[in-house]
């Protein structure tokens, strides 16, 4: 636990600091895999004909898949998913996943704020910038992280 506590010493964090970043390559295979794992079998996530019939430009990634991968770099940074106290996003723009090229989703995590929580322990707010094809796809994407108990 020493390493964890050292990593999460909030005294070393400053607002605006980039704490994690990662790029994900989503393919149609990724969407089928997420459909099976999550139980969300809406065909707009794997069938072009259904997607276009409801007015979409093509097959989209599940919003919850984008939310799921976006948390991953932060969880890897803190090491322990149990330190996440809150995670929220708005789905502002869909991620189009081309049948042959797939889609790149880029996640950059920055310290948004460091606060004292109600019980006197510190919490850090980490703001995620999530983009695909140069456009932001998630709004107000924020995780709150508890300081590791020493």
């Amino acid at each position: 636990m020493t390493g964890l506590t050292a990593t999460l010493d909030f005294a070393n964090l400053t607002v605006g600091m980039v704490v994690a970043e990662r790029e994900f390559h989503l393919t149609r295979d990724s969407l089928v895999r997420y459909a099976g794992a999550s139980g969300d079998f809406n065909p707009i996530h794997y069938r072009d004909d259904v997607a276009t019939s409801v007015g979409l430009p093509g097959v989209l990634a599940h919003g919850m898949l984008t939310m799921g991968i976006a948390a991953q770099p932060v969880v890897d940074w803190i090491g322990d998913p149990g330190l996440v106290s809150d995670y929220q996003v708005r789905f502002t723009r869909p991620v189009l996943v081309d049948a042959t090229e797939g889609a790149l989703v880029r996640v950059v995590a920055r310290v948004g704020a460091i606060d004292a929580s109600a019980d006197g322990h510190s919490e850090a707010r980490v703001d995620l910038t999530v983009t695909s094809a140069d456009e932001t796809v998630l709004g107000k994407a924020q995780l709150r992280i508890r300081a590791a108990s020493a």
Partner: protein, 149 residues
């Protein structure tokens, strides 16, 4: 037919309990590109003080989904599934979900709003473990597109 505003405040019966399997967590973790040993390897999870592998932060959606299915199927709610778009999502955690948990989710409709011909239905699903202790609350806003769009 639009969304019935009178469903605001309605509390649904608890959904069927969900028993969290280790392989289900692994399957979900791989689907969200997790390579974190705490999500995959029981020994790594135990070294962190957990009884078994830990679910990724968005796994509660799988448990919450049972309650959203209740909401969508509610006869007088007037929610047309084919017009539903996921607007936002939030999880507030007391602790992470761990393999072996038996979880029960109870949905409350917190608000129904109209905006530019669309309806926004916000609901909160409180998820508790077999002892009744709070694990996580999952909040979703579903946007139900209006007839003319």
């Amino acid at each position: 037919m639009g969304v019935n505003p009178d469903i605001a405040g309605r509390v649904f019966p608890p959904a069927e309990p969900y028993l969290v399997g280790r392989e289900k967590i692994r399957e979900f973790a791989r689907a969200v590109f997790s390579e974190n040993p705490v999500n995959l390897d029981p020994d790594a999870a135990r070294a962190r003080g957990y009884a078994d592998i830990v679910a990724p932060p968005t796994f509660p959606i799988v448990v919450q989904e049972r309650t959203l299915a209740q909401l969508l199927a509610e006869p007088d709610a007037g929610i047309d599934f084919t017009r539903v778009v996921h607007g936002d999502q939030r999880f507030k955690y007391s602790r992470p979900i761990v393999a072996g948990d038996e979880l029960t989710a109870t949905l409350t409709v917190t608000s129904v709003k109209s905006l530019g011909g669309h309806s926004m239905v916000t609901s909160e699903s409180a998820i508790v473990d077999a002892t009744g202790a709070h694990v996580v609350t999952a909040t979703s806003t579903l946007v139900v597109r209006g007839d003319e769009s």
